[in-house]
């Protein structure tokens, strides 16, 4: 069975991006496969009725049985079966979409959960690499001389940057770790002092280069060197530190030049040891930057978690209205 298709009317870019990300990274939490349709007829249309044009379109289509109309609203609307409340949140969307797809499956007996599961059996790592390859090809056409793509992984000390690169790299990673002699030694015995390096082979000879920065702030000069030419940024925040949200502010600040024109995703690690602050607080803080930067819980030892982060980053690059600039390039 084909995935259910969804289109939107009046939703912001950030909200649409969140939908795309959920369809990609949280596919294992969805009971059905979904895809966003930019044009043509979709199975479901989400209307943000705060937008006058979207409200008009909803008014015209609300009585039709197909497509299924979903209203996005800040206020409860009685007597409407499918109302998605603002602000759009991951925790809210997944059960909503599952309820909707289950209801649609009951309405259409041909819909088969088994075939939906079949669709999800694709290797997510291969899929990610294919999408990265497509981004690379587009960027090569744009940049000409750019031969490889480069992503930067930065963040707090002991957040798991080296581990994330080790988890996902196709080559044995290159490390520059030395014994820690200061307070970091409480968290771990060794610490990165220059860089971590890994690679993803995308096919056709293209490579995605993964650079990890040292986490200790005295090594921020390395971050400034390593971020040159990066296509995007993954920031890992250790939730055990005293003020993780201040850490988030810090990395958004030092990579301001990179992320203004590029893509950034945030992974929160060690939540099993420090569950607070919750992801909702990260989301609220990220909203203050007025950028569609998503945040995910991450265990850097789990390949699926790291893939989800990269998946979100690629989704941002794919959904950029204009090609993202490459930091450090005119």
């Amino acid at each position: 069975m084909e995935p259910l298709t969804l289109s939107t009317e009046g939703m912001t870019d950030a909200e649409q991006m969140l939908l795309s990300m959920i369809f990609s990274f949280a596919s294992d939490q969805l009971t059905h496969s979904w895809t966003i349709r930019q044009g043509g007829r979709a199975d479901v249309v989400i209307y943000d009725i705060a937008n006058p044009r979207a409200r008009l379109a909803w008014e015209r289509s609300r009585t039709a049985p197909h497509p299924v109309s979903v209203v996005l609203s800040e206020d409860p609307i009685p007597d409407l079966p499918w109302v998605l409340h603002k602000p759009v949140r991951t925790q809210r969307l997944i059960p909503f979409l599952n309820g909707l797809s289950d209801w649609m499956t009951q309405q259409s007996p041909t819909a088969s959960a088994a075939s939906a599961r079949e669709l999800r059996q694709d290797d997510p790592f291969s899929t990610l690499k294919q999408r990265l390859g497509a981004v690379a090809s587009a960027r090569l056409a744009q940049e000409g001389a750019l031969q490889d793509l480069k992503l930067l992984i930065s963040g707090s000390v002991a957040a798991g940057k080296s581990t994330a690169i080790r988890t996902i790299s196709d080559i044995p990673p290159i490390n520059t770790d030395v014994p820690a002699t200061d307070s970091v030694s409480i968290l771990k015995t060794r610490t990165t002092v220059a860089l971590d390096y890994g690679e993803l082979t995308l096919g056709d000879g293209k490579k995605l280069r993964l650079y990890g920065t040292p986490g200790q702030r005295r090594y921020d000069f390395m971050s400034k060197i390593l971020c040159r030419g990066a296509l995007g940024l993954v920031v890992l925040i250790d939730n055990r530190v005293d003020n993780p949200l201040a850490e988030l502010d810090y990395y958004a600040s030092i990579f301001r030049d990179l992320v203004t024109d590029s893509a950034m995703v945030v992974g929160v690690t060690h939540r099993d040891q420090a569950p607070e602050p919750g992801l909702d607080r990260y989301e609220r803080r990220l909203q203050t930057f007025h950028k569609p930067w998503p945040v995910f819980p991450v265990d850097p030892r789990k390949k699926s978690d790291v893939i989800a982060l990269f998946d979100a980053l690629v989704t941002m690059l794919e959904h950029a209205r204009r090609p993202y600039a490459v930091a450090g390039r005119p």
Partner: protein
């Protein structure tokens, strides 16, 4: 941040004083931990030393990593050269890094020799494992 113990501090002070006394070309000498914490310095100027110590640790680690990648053994010295001078980075056993600077480009040989001797003398004054640890995984 723990302070170096008295014995360690005394060794650093004695050997760096000797270094500057014996090698006229050296204008700055720094001892740093492999993770970039400044432990001692002597200089004939007013150079910034904290960040130099941090950068020195990065370069030493990169030197170790590159040589390990190329299977060329442990890194003894990293040399950074410009039209204005030279900076050398040496291991002090496996526990510290010695950063040496000169503004005399013709003094590379002298600086290399005295830097190695100073690194060895410091190492002998400290209870260290002299095996240089590779940083490459």
């Amino acid at each position: 941040m723990p302070l170096p113990d008295d014995h360690e501090a005394a060794v650093f002070a004695r050997e760096l004083d000797q270094y500057l006394a014996n090698c006229e070309a050296v204008t700055l000498a720094i001892v740093t931990t492999p993770d970039g914490r400044l432990r001692a310095q002597r200089q004939r100027g007013a150079y910034e030393t904290d960040l130099t110590a941090v950068m020195g640790s990065s370069l030493m680690a990169l030197g170790d990593t590159i040589l390990a990648e190329l299977r060329l053994g442990a890194c003894d010295t990293v040399i950074a050269e410009s039209a204005q001078g030279l900076v050398l980075f040496n291991h002090i056993a496996s526990a510290f890094v010695l950063v040496s600077m000169t503004q005399s480009k013709s003094s590379l040989g002298s600086l290399l020799s005295w830097a190695r001797r100073t690194a060895d003398d410091i190492a002998q004054g400290l209870p260290l494992d002299k095996t240089v640890q590779s940083t490459s995984a």
